[in-house]
Amino acid sequence: MNPSPMQTDYLNIETSLKSWLLTRDHKRIAWLYLGAVLFFFVIGAIAAAMFRIELLTPKGDFFSPDFYNRLFTIHGIVMVWFFLVPVIPATLGNFLLPLMIGSKDLAFPTLNLVSWYVFVVGGLFTIWTVAAGGVDTGWTFYTPFSSVYSNSNTLTAATGIFITGFSSIMTGINFIATIHRMRAPGMSWLRLPVFVWTLYSTSLIFILATPVLSTVLILLFLETQFGMGFFNPVLGGDPLLFQHLFWFYSHPAVYIMVLPAMGIVSEIVPQFARNKIFGYRFIVGATLAIAVIGFLVWGHHMFVSGQSLYSNMIFSFLSFVVGVPSAIKVFNWTATLYRGSISFEAPMIYALGFIFLFTIGGMSGLFLATLSIDVHVHDTYFVVAHFHYIMVGGSILALLGGVHYWFPKVTGRLYPERLAQGSAWLIIAGFNFTFFPQFILGYMGMPRRYQSYPDRFQTLNVLSSAGAFILAVGYLLPFLYLTWSLFKGAKSGPNPWNSDGLEWQTSSPPIKENFAHAVTYGFRYLTEEAKSNGVET
């Protein structure tokens, strides 16, 4: 696989299937996670393409209504729990965290492998749900519909997500222990790369929020199977209790999805602007602030669901406050370009695309935080556009940027630069075609999860469906040329971007033990003197 004289690295040191399936090397586990997560991305994308076809016509006559409901539910469940939540922490995070802090591996390598198997078992339950006909409750499982009135496979879907939750908890524990205990001597907290900081905050959210999801899924299972009554008003419960517990996890979960993406952008922008990140301490402060305030704002999902007026006002105010750290980050990224020497390779295009789309997504969040506007646009396509701008325009764009930026480090090969830049522009264009019309649809009053809609919404829906296909083509391109260059790409050498990051100071692809010599000095921007003492490329 590696034509140059046999330089042993973590990929070709042993290539038996057993060595892959029982590996404790964080770099190989990252590959295992990438495979599992991409498999689920394909399922979610197919479901999305199917209901985008359905929405071409106002009548809703392509699929049966029940099948349509199952389509968007599977799209929601698979994309949230099996793609967006694990993708950046478990693939790029797993691979790069030990390299960025100069350690041999994560704190608990076996736990890392166990978390992958737990993720796969949870995934099998979800595949069983899809095979058995899917679930028709929407990814939010609102009771009493999901527990009493839905006769689809809510139980297997809830079990699948319950099990995958433990894989998130294990990753969280692993990352926190690693960052606390395994940093290279000399690498103090304020010398950590920003990507490591975002992984730390994401792990804090993993361990604080995921258990509450496990609780609510246990109760949903018991309510559906034994008619327990916590969420069923007929038996004395309150459906809003379910919504409170569900959104206590699900809002911090959206910060789990976007924080690592912000970390990647905070690595790419300074690198390609040949500049130090502007206001490192404020970006780190903003990351931790997002993790903390992110736990205070879940009520903005329930402004119209019968929550008390007093709670509405508190959550609306806090939802405005949580916008401030994100604004700080956008300002800091822009300021990093000042007096830089900016080059526009593919990762930089993805990063700038992230800033562009994330700013739109964040600002639309302000509309949703305003009580009287949210009353109008809640549960409409405005909300769909808002979170897709942040999840797809933000996290997936940053993920692609990160994959391209660290591709030489992971595989030791270069990707085709022109083709990568072209596909980046295509994705950004396709994305805007798909989701910007949905802002207008939302404000015009088209509710979410609607199979048939009034005729006056058709033009915008057709535009959105067309955009969806451009986006699909856009996603296909990197998949193809990255797989191609995995085998045929030109050799990249240890540090093609001439980066100062600690992960680039070792060979690419790195050897099994990551660093040939003990890493003694970990400050990111190494002066000449530091480069000579012991950090050998």
Partner: protein, 87 residues
């Protein structure tokens, strides 16, 4: 033996707190009983964490997480009960 003696004191304290909780339920506290029993349980939890789980011996990292659990639970309980109490 010094350690075991302090454990013994802690055990005695815990038993005494248990008795106070049970006795408290006899008093006509009405709604106050909930606050009384929660206060005593938190005190017992503090004793266990501080002495039995040797909270002080851990370094800064291990100390962070009990506090974090407390803050997380406080946020969850506070904001959810606000909704149900002010409805």
């Amino acid at each position: 033996m010094q350690g075991v003696k302090s454990d013994l004191f802690v055990f005695a304290g815990l038993l005494m707190l248990l008795i106070m909780t049970v006795v408290g339920s006899y008093w006509p506290l009405g709604e106050g009983l909930l606050i009384w029993s929660l206060a005593i349980s938190s005190l017992k939890a503090y004793l266990i964490i501080r002495f039995y789980m040797n909270f002080r011996a851990g370094d800064r990292a291990t100390k962070l997480f009990p506090y974090l659990a407390g803050v997380g639970l406080f946020i969850l309980l506070l904001l959810v009960s606000t909704d149900f109490l002010t409805r």
